[in-house]
């Protein structure tokens, strides 16, 4: 169980919380949204060495670390060290699961604690905040991909099966989208809406899907085959199969394409217009949750991969 600190420091007044919220990220809500979040937060403080929460607890709390350093540890995973300003617990909350790691204060820590319900309620009330948050989180994940050169920390795609050439019907499109982590927990109706509005693209081997620096007006979900991406500086080479977005969930943040993408084998891709996706998100808040969940999974995979590689590098 996450414990209430026994010795709270002087609580932050609402205005200080609001200042903190507004200043840690441009993606966080401004005006009424920031004030709502500030009011919903509680102060907490932890002494160096104290446990903030334990792996397995299911309290659905997000900790905004305002002062100090924390370490997140788990079984068979590399520890993560984070310093203020930082947000912890959010990966688990987004995936609606118990905490996967134990959070411990490395120094004296002060934090603002927010409940999951309040966090998502702000999304519903402030769609632009939700949208900006998605973009921001996706942007962070993209930076992590770039830092994980040359593989980008993307999972390996499944081995392509025999190419099935027929055009996808609505059901198949919907199922193809539901296999994507970013949409896995979305409602069927919103997925069907996206699927119906998607454009199906058939690509032969070596055929280009998009080029680097082109405006990114769409997201691409692989339905069949394999799409390869590459870029230089930093070098990234990765492949995407059915059940993935080309460039990962992070592609939500792209303004221009950061990669060159082409089909490795005969492939079918569903093109989701960014504008249609945003319209769907606005009317189907559960899809926002789904996308945050997908981003959290992706972020976690990269962080674990990075920590693993760091350990290997240390020998």
């Amino acid at each position: 169980m996450a414990r209430e600190p026994a010795r709270p420091a002087a609580p932050l007044i609402t205005i200080e919380r609001e200042l903190f919220l507004r200043s840690i990220s441009v993606a966080l809500p401004q005006g009424g949204g920031a004030l709502q979040l500030a009011r919903a937060m509680r102060d907490a403080s932890f002494r160096a060495g104290e446990i903030i929460y334990r792996a397995g607890d299911f309290t659905r709390l997000i900790h905004f670390i305002t002062h100090g350093e924390v370490e997140l540890t788990g079984v068979d995973v590399e520890p993560w060290k984070l310093a203020a300003p930082a947000v912890i617990g959010i990966l688990d909350v987004n995936q609606r699961r118990p905490f996967s790691r134990t959070a411990r204060a490395l120094t004296d820590v002060r934090a603002l604690v927010l409940r999951e319900d309040d966090w998502f309620e702000v999304f519903e009330e402030h769609f632009e905040f939700a949208r900006a948050s998605l973009r921001r989180v996706a942007g962070d994940v993209h930076e992590l991909h770039l830092a994980a050169s040359p593989g980008g920390g993307f999972p390996q795609p499944p081995t392509p099966t025999d190419f099935d050439a027929h055009a996808l019907n609505l059901q198949e499109r919907t199922l193809a989208l539901r296999a994507v982590p970013a949409f896995r927990t979305a409602g069927i109706q919103s997925l069907a809406l996206l699927a119906a509005g998607a454009t199906e693209l058939a690509l032969g081997p070596g055929e280009r899907l998009f080029a680097r620096d082109e405006p990114s007006l769409s997201l691409f979900a692989v339905a069949r085959g394999t799409i390869r991406i590459e870029r230089e500086n930093p070098v990234i080479r990765a492949r995407f199969g059915p059940g993935s977005l080309v460039g990962g969930c992070a592609s939500v943040s792209f303004v221009t394409q950061p990669y060159h993408a082409e089909a490795e084998v005969p492939s079918v891709v569903l093109e989701l217009r960014r504008e249609a996706l945003i319209d769907t998100l606005e009317d189907h808040v559960e899809m926002i949750h789904a996308m945050f969940s997908g981003l959290s999974v992706e972020r976690e995979e990269i962080l674990d991969d990075r920590a693993r590689r760091a350990r290997l590098a240390r020998g």
Binding site: R60, D117, A167, Q171, I188, A192, A196, E200, L201, D283
Partner: protein
């Protein structure tokens, strides 16, 4: 337990705790009744009745001490453990009293002991029950549980009478102790609380409740003060009523018949009480609600008192008073009274209930008894006077109840919104501490912190607090934000400092400075900027100067045309600079340029054009703006621009809605745009759309728009109208809510048929397909419920219906119970409630109640068609459903299952509704020629089907 469910509304998992509570109360009351019998007989046989007065005083003092101790005790050990301990102590103490010599002092001890035990056990039992059941369960189950008490009293009295025929009175003490012991042992087998409730009651993240004194609690909770007033009026009225009845009986009934008269009367009243308890209490509470149910007893007493007053003391009228008291006090009144405590936080309830129930009650009784004694002593208590007192007290009693309705609701509001956001949050004034914090942030080297502080100060309407020295900050974002602030708040005193920034190395800062200076009227200061090395800065200067000129068509200016002809990043920046200048000056002469640029491929340019359009009044732009709604980017500004055009734009939007040529996608954006006008006409048009539009997508958008209007959200920053004055058509909205609730229940009944199959099937073809159908059914269920609650929110604009909705969809039973009671009380029928209103309320209770699915469907049978009996029937029902998406997915699944009946039905649906496009993709799956991988090929799905799908997909 099915036999039991026939007599009372008992749900799955409730039988055991309800029976346990019934038996525990039965044992407690039976044991205590036997103890009281022995006590009265022993006391009055050895001491004169006048000694009772001393006992009453002693009791009042001891109750105060014991109650305080009891509260701490219960808090420390929990409701169940405290009750067990008290029962064991009662058994032990009573046994000891059996063995001591009954001296006068021992008799005093016996009397006070039994009275205190009765008080403490009563309080502890109902605390235990309050913890064990939610408020909605309490409404159904407290009646039958309390019947255990009545039954215990009857059984205890009979057992005492029977026992006395064979054993001495003192032996009754041992019988009583034995019953206490048995009850205590029985309670050890009872689970402390329902685990679900326990989890909800003590969430890990809940802040520890601060320890407050009782007086602080009474100050903090007005509801507690009202409870105290209620206790005062009811205790006084019941006591005077009892005295009135007895005094009239003493006058009207011959003394030799008094014993028989009282015996008969009490026997009848006990029977009545039991009947009310078993047959009426639950029903009345569910039909009229907790608070109104409390008015029944005082209302009947008022009737009786009026009768006594008018007739001068007819016994029948006095019997009405006593009859109401005897039949309702320990049944309906007791249960409703216990339920009144339920919305209070557990800690508050524990600490204040004992005080009010025992100490305060006894104090009031003592005072009233003294007054009656005085009146009687001075012969001032004839029946008419007493009847008038009873009448006055019952009026006060009812008045208090009426006043409590809103505070009762308030407590549920608080319980439901606890820990959640205050959506109606309003900007607050900055206090001294806050000002210190933001001023400190303004001097931070961190630009994000400084801009955050500026934002907060501006939001609080205190922009003048930002000092001009902010323009000396190093960071570009801070300077840009400060220059923006200077324009928005007309900071002319900053002009000298701003001029300094014309030489700033950052192009964006120089451009923003030019813009701000022009905005503040300093055109001379920016002429030099026409020679700036940056085309962006030059453009800003040129546009602003041209905009300020008298040219009829400023876009004809050659400098402007040259600048607009630039391409690349510079061209983009220049175009945005022009659009910002037009926006600053709200100049309609630029309409041609705005119309041109609002279609620009560069999204940011197009968005800035929409922003500029939102500042000018030019009817010529209206059709283009409506078309521009198709595009997501800048749509919010396009909506503002349309609102800025006024009535003409509103008319154009309603015409577009009615025009069959309007593209479906655009039609979906029209309702929210209409809502932005925040006028009564907008409300009326949106209501019509919600009720009658042919497209679910548009109906849903209209509902969202209507909801925002009801909440005053759209008008807040538009200033287009006073949304508080808007009137919503209650009848139509209530009817629509009813329709959505019926749809919700209907979907549940269809989904149940799928669930049964899923439960019985281990494997089989088409699992994935059925998951889509089932998932879609789930979506539809959630959406129909969500729509119903959005409509309810419009009907109750000032209530936080959203929290109640959230509480209902969580697995937290206690929160769900509170939400249900809140909604039940909120939707109590008014005087002239229509049948639809009543049905909507009933439907709301059906969907909100904690019921197993089968039970819910059965109870909904009068509102929904007969549920499909088999999986195939359910699938066929969905195939025929008006919702095209549901029908399409059902068809895919039916084809996968491939039974003859299903295939026939799919074929029929495909003929009847060819636009569903079901058969074509499925049918061509095997036969489709392989697509040659080659040049990228777009495979568009049937355009008509896509458009229709959009309609179908509207939530």
């Amino acid at each position: 337990m099915r036999w039991l469910s026939r007599f009372m509304d008992l749900r799955e998992g409730e039988a055991r705790p309800a029976i346990e509570a019934f038996l525990a109360l039965f044992g407690i009351i039976a044991g205590h009744t036997i103890l009281e019998t022995a006590r009265d007989a022993l006391f009055l046989s050895k001491l004169p009745p006048s000694r009772l007065a001393i006992v009453y005083v002693l009791l009042a003092a001891l109750t105060l001490v014991v109650t305080a101790g009891n509260t701490r005790f219960v808090q420390r050990f929990g409701q169940r453990n405290a009750l067990i301990f008290t029962l064991l102590a009662a058994a032990y103490g009573t046994t000891v009293l059996h063995f001591v010599t009954l001296t006068p002092a021992a008799l005093f001890v016996l009397y006070t002991w039994s009275a205190l035990i009765g008080t403490v056990l009563g309080v502890q039992f109902w605390m235990f029950a309050g913890q064990r059941f939610t408020v909605t369960q309490g409404k159904r189950l407290f009646g039958p549980i309390a019947a255990g008490g009545v039954g215990g009293a009857v059984t205890g009295a009979s057992a005492a009478a029977g026992a006395l025929a064979v054993v001495p009175v003192t032996s009754l003490l041992l019988v009583s102790a034995g019953l206490f012991l048995i009850t205590a042992v029985f309670l050890t087998t009872v689970r402390a609380t329902d685990p679900q409730i326990e989890v909800a009651a003590t969430p890990a993240d809940a802040p520890a409740p601060p320890q407050q004194s009782v007086s602080e609690l009474f100050r903090r909770y007005p509801y507690l003060r009202q409870m105290a007033v209620l206790a005062a009026f009811s205790s006084a009225a019941l006591l005077v009523g009892d005295y009135l009845f007895k005094s009239i009986a003493a006058h009207r009934v011959p003394p030799e018949q008094l014993g028989a008269f009282f015996a008969r009367t009490y026997a009848v009243l006990n029977a009545l009480s039991l009947a009310v308890q078993l047959l009426m209490t639950g029903r009345v509470l569910r039909q009229v609600g907790v608070v109104p149910a409390l008015t029944i007893l005082p209302l009947l007493m008022l009737g009786g008192a009026t009768g006594v007053f008018l007739t001068g003391g007819v016994l029948t009228m006095a019997l009405v008073i006593k009859g109401a008291d005897g039949s309702l006090r320990y049944s309906l009144q007791r249960v409703a009274g216990e339920l009144l405590w339920m919305p209070l936080p557990s800690e508050v309830r524990t600490r204040s209930k004992a005080l009010l129930d025992s100490v305060f009650g006894r104090l009031i009784q003592a005072i009233v008894a003294s007054v009656l004694l005085l009146l009687a002593t001075f012969h001032l208590a004839p029946p008419r006077v007493l009847a008038a007192i009873v009448a006055a007290l019952t009026v006060g009693w009812m008045g208090t109840i009426v006043a409590m309705r809103s505070t009762y609701l308030d407590l549920f509001r608080q319980a439901l919104s606890r820990g959640t956001l205050d959506l109606a949050i309003e900007a607050q004034e900055l206090d001294l501490g806050s000002i210190e914090a933001v001023m400190d942030a303004l001097s931070s080297p961190d630009p994000l912190r400084v801009t955050a502080a500026i934002g907060i100060i501006q939001d609080k309407g205190r922009a003048r607090l930002v000092p001009g020295l902010i323009l000396f900050h190093d960071a570009e974002p801070v300077l840009l934000r400060a220059l923006e602030l200077a324009m928005e708040t007309d900071r002319r005193e900053w002009i000298p400092l701003m001029q300094r920034l014309l030489g700033h190395p950052a192009e964006a800062v120089r451009a923003a400075t030019v813009r701000a200076l022009v905005h503040l009227g300093e055109t001379d200061a920016v002429r030099a900027a026409l020679d700036d090395v940056s085309p962006l800065v030059r453009a800003h200067a040129a546009f602003n100067l041209v905009t300020q000129s008298a040219a009829e068509r400023p876009s004809d200016d050659t400098t402007i045309q040259d600048l607009l002809a630039l391409d690349g990043d510079t061209g983009r920046a220049v175009a945005i600079a022009l659009l910002d200048a037009i926006r600053d000056h709200a100049d309609a002469r630029w309409a041609d340029v705005l119309l041109l640029l609002v279609d620009d491929d560069r999204l940011d340019v197009s968005e800035h054009a929409a922003m500029a359009l939102a500042t000018i009044a030019a009817p010529v732009v209206i059709p283009r703006l409506i078309q521009r709604l198709d595009q997501r980017s800048g749509r919010d500004w396009v909506r503002r621009a349309l609102v800025h055009q006024g009535e003409a734009a509103f008319e154009a939007l309603t015409e577009a809605l009615a025009d069959p040529a309007t593209p479906l996608a655009r039609r979906g954006h029209l309702p929210r745009t209409l809502a932005r006008f925040a006028t009564q006409r907008a409300v009326d048009v949106l209501t019509e759309l919600v009720v009658n539009d042919r497209q679910g997508f548009v109906r849903y958008k209209a509902l969202r728009g209507l909801g925002r209007l009801a909440a005053g959200q759209d008008a807040d920053h538009r200033g287009t109208g006073n949304t508080a004055a808007l009137r919503f058509d209650r009848a139509r909205i209530s009817g629509e809510m009813r329709r959505n609730l019926v749809e919700h229940l209907q979907l549940i009944s269809v989904a149940a048929a799928f669930d049964q199959r899923a439960g019985s099937r281990t494997s089989g073809a088409g699992n994935a397909d059925s998951s889509l159908v089932v998932g879609l059914l789930g979506d539809k269920q959630r959406q129909s419920l969500e729509r119903a609650f959005r409509l309810l929110q419009i009907l109750h604009r000032d209530e936080d219906i959203r929290s109640a909705h959230s509480a209902l969809v969580t697995g937290d039973r206690r929160l769900r119970g509170q939400a249900m009671e809140f909604l039940d009380t909120l939707t109590l029928p008014r005087r002239r409630a229509s049948t639809e209103d009543r049905e909507a309320r009933e439907l709301l209770r059906l969907v909100a109640d904690d019921l197993p699915t089968a039970d819910r469907i059965e109870r909904a049978s009068r509102f929904i068609p007969r549920p499909p009996a088999t999986y195939e029937d359910a699938l066929i029902k969905l195939l025929r459903d008006g919702d095209e998406l549901l029908s399409t997915f059902a068809a895919y699944h039916a084809l996968d299952l491939g039974t003859a009946r299903l295939l026939d039905e799919v074929a029929r649906v495909c003929v009847e509704r060819p636009y569903l496009n079901i058969a074509t993709p499925i049918g061509t799956r095997a036969a489709a020629p392989p697509r040659a991988p080659g040049a990228a090929k777009e495979i568009e799905i049937n355009a008509e089907a896509e458009a229709e799908a959009e309609v179908a997909h509207g939530p």
